[in-house]
Amino acid sequence: MTTLTAARAAAGPDAVAHRPRVRGFTAERVFITRSFIHTIRDVDTMMMAVLLPTMLMLMFTYIFGNAIDPSGGYVDYVVPGIILLCAGFGASTTAISVSRDMSTGIIDRFRTMPLRSGAVLTGHVAVSLVRNLIATAIVIGVALLVGFRPSATPLEWLAAFGMVALYILTITYLFAAIGLAAPSPEAASGYGFILLFLPYVSSAFVPVDTMPEWLQWVAENQPITPVIETIRALLMGTPVGDSAWWAVGWCAAIIAIAAAWGAWLFRRKSGRR
């Protein structure tokens, strides 16, 4: 830019005005669009979102499946576990996105504007939900190809997707809070790792009663197990018991805690980089 264009810039038509407050859910809409563009431009994440569900489904069916259940019925057992595993991986990128936003100056710019700057997080969460529901659809699609035969009615399918969506929201909120707590995007990715192991210590891949006794207690009382049992009951017609209540209760409680923790971190980190 030459000094000449700069001088011309000065004479621009803009009169000094005030920045109006944004109305309704405009900020949320804008930030969801932003996160959506981020997702589709992040080729690695997109590849993972498609490839991981496919690979895991094939691996658990053809490599572990026959060893665990020689009768060939393992695919019917394992689908809910794969769905949660993929959702966990998919949602973990939220921690990195949130942490990246916090470590650049962009969040401070939003915070000095008359809008709900927390809507930035809403954008990341909403896009994670959509991305992981697509990953769930891929898991189910591949599962059907390799012999998954669910007994669910349309209403049960809907309820199962509802349960999966609630789980995705829960783990995404948790990852968003981890992203806020982490000092850097790299740390965010590391901190979130432990959450990805939770599905293994549940009824996702093997029945809980095959585990050592002390581990059984952990597996039965951690939030993943009731979620798995609820999805399995809806898809395969196994008895649901009180799993659905436990699943919804756990998810609601974790979302409440993660949201409160996240809101606190978001305020505290203001203006500090």
Partner: protein, 307 residues
Amino acid sequence: MQLAIEARGLRKAFGRTEVLAGLDLAVPAGSVFALLGPNGAGKTTTINILTTLVAPDSGTAAVMGRDLLREPAAVQQCIALTGQAAAVDEVLTARENLVMMGRLSGLARRDARLRATELIARFDLEQAADRRVATYSGGMRRRLDLALSLVVQVPVLFLDEPTTGLDTRSRQELWAVIRSLADAGTTIFLTTQYLEEADRLADRIAVLDRGRIAAEGTADELKSRVGGDVVELRDADGVLLRELPTDGSVHGLRAAIDELDRAALAGADGVQVTIRRPSLDDVFLAITADRPAAAAEASAPELIATN
């Protein structure tokens, strides 16, 4: 005189470190105000408080007559911030950044797009407008960063070290833009560690030292505060050997020359004595002289401070 920014007794500590120790500010509307200080003097904290990012521990402040603590949203409607780290979205293009900011500033989609095109032309970003910001040079990023603050032209613009890390050419370009914004009536509050920047841009300059305003005035007022001319001693190659400020009197001048004589520096071959007006560097060092660390941090030329 209408004040765009007014602060009284601002204090802020992070843990045990006191960053601001009772800061007072009065910035007239329509002026360019430079807050000058070494790293760690509290410049960014001051900006963070005035832009509602951080609450002060005590003290009051108002922007365009709106109290920062009682009416933060009203203050936010009057300000724009271009911070130290480029606050741009690297994954988006310049156009997408500008449209996003327009939408967040309450413009309708169509208006946001029009405004984006306008600013892209104005900041000479046409070539790269639809490329991701991640591919931009430092100068382009800063221009976009400033453009984002102008999507809606607000009365008060905060610039935190706007030209740090830029090459000379980009710095000159940015100065021209800032000057032109000021001419159009925007109040500009900028922080800088470059004395030349403050000298060139600012109507009024405040020197921030240890969390307080140590001196304030126009560049000329500040320069006259350090008193008289500066005696410089240079060798045959023009390398500065020593410089001594004087109080401007004949006696003071002679004392300075005697001092150089005593130091046996003036006798060597080709050594030349010149006398010049004090610069802002002299002011800055004179004001912060009782703290050697501050002088070392500020990238000012080496000189002997006497006061």
